[in-house]
Amino acid sequence: MKPLLVHRKGEIFLGRDGGSVESLPTEFQKVFPGVSPKYIDPLSLMAGIAAGRALDGRGTAFSEETRRDFSVIVGSALGAMESVVDFDGQAVSKGPNTVNPMDFPNTVANAAGSRIGIWLQLKGPNVTLTNGDTSFLDAVGFAWEGMNSGLFSDCLVGAAEKAPSFLHPPPSPGPAETRWKEGACFLLASGVEREETLFEVTDYFSLQLKPDGSPPPAFVPRLEGFWQGVEWLGAPAGTPLESRLPQGLKRYVPNPAVFELGLGGLEALEAFLASSHFRGVIAVFSGMERKISLLKITQGKRRS
């Protein structure tokens, strides 16, 4: 299968880089000056900002033919759950006829991806998947497989996550290792070498582990074969990979720092890009689904 070439990355994180929910409309309008952020939920705003930053102005130059085969793929663990709870809370507390119908579209998990498609006029398959903590990695894996199966030529692929306010106790503030990361990250990717690449996706694999955290025996050869020739392995913070992965891999797992719901793998990706290693694997474990996803990547090519 052909590698998925990742050209650019755009992101926004609340808290980490000083952003806040209140600042989202302003940031959004810097990326989409002609679009009103009114009635748009924070998840969609974050996704839009990150997608726009990944494109860095290239969107307006796309031909109609390019747009037709340009996909948007979004992963999110909780998707629109925050909007669902808010919308329903209004209906329960004040009556269903007080709910603003303009808020209803925010309750579908594909709101963020669909809006990116609408704002940027991208008419290729628009896909939203919700795969727990592995959502980001699975979205990229989907992009790699989808590009190879001919679903699209180019894509914006990424993840967006909004920490739910309905959690008890509330998710923040708290110690770093338990703090939720809220934000969005999108990658501009294609199967065609158009400009310099940040990195390339060359393989992807995911499976559910047994209740004790070990892989079912049938998967072991595939799992072991996956990291042949790999010189680096990263896992996102907060993952219990250390205790679950085969013995030979533990030494590669970095120390956990922050819990990345649905954006799992992003910190590992950033660490890989900053490293001098050529070939790596990012592994994300989702405890809720006892699922592990693995993405094999190589450093990108710089064009002279």
Binding site: R67, S76, A77, L78, G79, M81, V84, V85, F87, D88, G89, A91, V92, G95, P96, N97, V99, P101, F104, P105, T107, V108, A109, N110, A111, G113, S114, R115, G117, I118, Q121, L122, K123, G124, N126, V127, T128, L129, T130, N131, G132, S135, F142, G146, N148, P164, F166, L167, H168, S206, L207, Q208, L209, K210, P215, P216, G287, M288, E289, K291
Partner: protein
């Protein structure tokens, strides 16, 4: 590329908690929607909906596994069990490495989310079950299915609103077609949601009495619930074990209106694209198509733009029968496309078309033959199953009669 057979089917919907009951009821033109029991509809403008009222299988399961799964997961497990049974398979017959589970849903375990919203409103979040965060996520549904079966393959839950099921079926098809898997549990599920009922009420998209797809006096959709599961299997494997083959998947197409969050493109652009892509992937031409299972929500806008897309591809004088079973079971949201695909498989297999009930008045803008009010015999080989969604996400599946003669990409490779 491998060929992909549908060897198992499972359904729960307002017309039955298993396949044969649902099929027979639809064949007779029964309507399963009506006054709601799930919630008190008094404050709502529209007071009808669709609910799975036959509870024999659900209650039996919940007695055996009390509290272990949320409702959408229970629906999905039951439909998967039925699909496996129809396929003459047990989970022990499946090689874990070669089986995946791909399901679609609009809102996941939304009834749990609604319980959480009640706790939040009442300032009682402290009483929330600590397990709720994991149980409320859509991903939990596919995990629950494989966990229940004791399998460990890849899972993905697609959240593409009302077209979610088709996205999941298409992805399962791709995984087998490319040789990554031998078997895929695919489909869609959504349980009755106060959020959806409130939202569609507020958007004035609901009909107050009955769903009349393609009828000139149509007034809207009916919010409903259900699940549809299609067990997909690599053709050679299915043939080798003598599996029942309901039909073959010829291809699928995904599209995007890129127009509006809640309104379809006025010319059905995304619908047109997805149908064209599906035909192109299957390497079929429009004259090869014998039947279309429509998205057919019964809203003025959907039925008009879907008809426009169909006429653009098949000709203004298109006489292909196009039905909408939403007239009988309502709009089951993320399950709709999957249940429609299940019934289309049976239509091809059994040579019978299900009716579009409640059709009363012609609409010049709509398709000419919506199989009005009565089922009928059918000799076709190729069917399309359309499904469109909020956000403009569109999809189309190509389903082929087992033993048919039409040459397709998969059959010729």
């Amino acid at each position: 590329m491998k060929r992909v057979a549908v060897t198992g089917l499972g359904v729960l919907c307002p017309l039955g908690d298993e396949l044969e009951t649902a099929w027979q009821s639809m064949l007779e033109g029964q309507v399963g929607t009506g006054p709601l029991q799930f919630l008190d509809p008094t404050p709502y403008r529209v007071k009808i909906g669709g609910e799975v009222r036959q509870r024999r299988r659900i209650e039996s399961f919940e007695r055996e596994y009390p509290g272990r799964y949320e409702r959408a997961s229970v629906f999905s497990i039951l439909a998967t069990q039925e699909a496996l049974s129809k396929s003459n398979l047990t989970s022990a017959d499946l090689e874990p490495l070669r089986v995946g589970c791909f399901l679609g849903t609009t809102m996941g375990e939304v009834q749990l989310a609604e319980r959480l919203s009640e706790l939040k409103v009442q300032n009682r979040l402290g009483e929330m079950n600590p397990d709720s965060l994991s149980r409320v996520q859509g991903s939990r549904i596919a995990f629950s299915v494989l966990d229940f079966l004791g399998l460990g393959g890849p899972t993905t839950v697609f959240c593409n609103a009302c077209a979610s099921g088709n996205y999941a079926i298409g992805w399962g098809f791709d995984q087998i077609r490319q040789g990554h898997l031998d078997v895929a549990v695919t489909g869609g599920v959504d349980v009755f949601s106060r959020v959806a009922f409130t939202g569609f009420n507020r958007l004035l998209s609901l009909t107050p009495d009955k769903c009349r797809p393609f009828s000139g006096n149509r007034k809207g959709l009916v919010v409903s619930e259900g699940v549809g599961v299609l067990l997909l299997e690599e053709w050679g494997r299915a043939k080798a074990r003598g599996a029942p083959i309901f039909c073959e998947i010829g291809g699928y197409g995904l599209g995007m209106d890129a127009y509006h969050m809640t309104s379809p493109h006025p010319e059905g652009r995304g619908a047109f694209e997805s149908i064209q892509r599906a035909l192109s992937q299957a390497r079929l031409d429009p004259p090869d198509v014998d039947f279309i299972s429509a998205h057919g929500t019964g809203t003025p806008a959907n039925d008009k733009t879907e008809s426009m897309a169909i006429k653009r591809i098949f000709g203004a004088d298109c006489r292909i029968p196009v039905n909408s079973i939403k007239s009988m079971i309502g709009h089951t949201m993320g399950a709709a496309s999957a249940i429609e695909a299940v019934m289309t498989c049976l239509s091809l297999d059994r040579g019978l078309l299900l009716p579009t009930m409640n059709w009363e008045v012609p609409d010049e803008g709509c398709i000419a033959d919506c199989v009005p009010n009565q089922s009928r015999p059918f000799q076709g080989e190729v069917a399309l199953s359309n499904s469109f969604a909020f956000g403009g996400n569109t999809s189309c599946l190509v389903l082929m009669k087992e033993g048919g003669t039409r040459e397709t990409a998969a059959r010729s490779s």
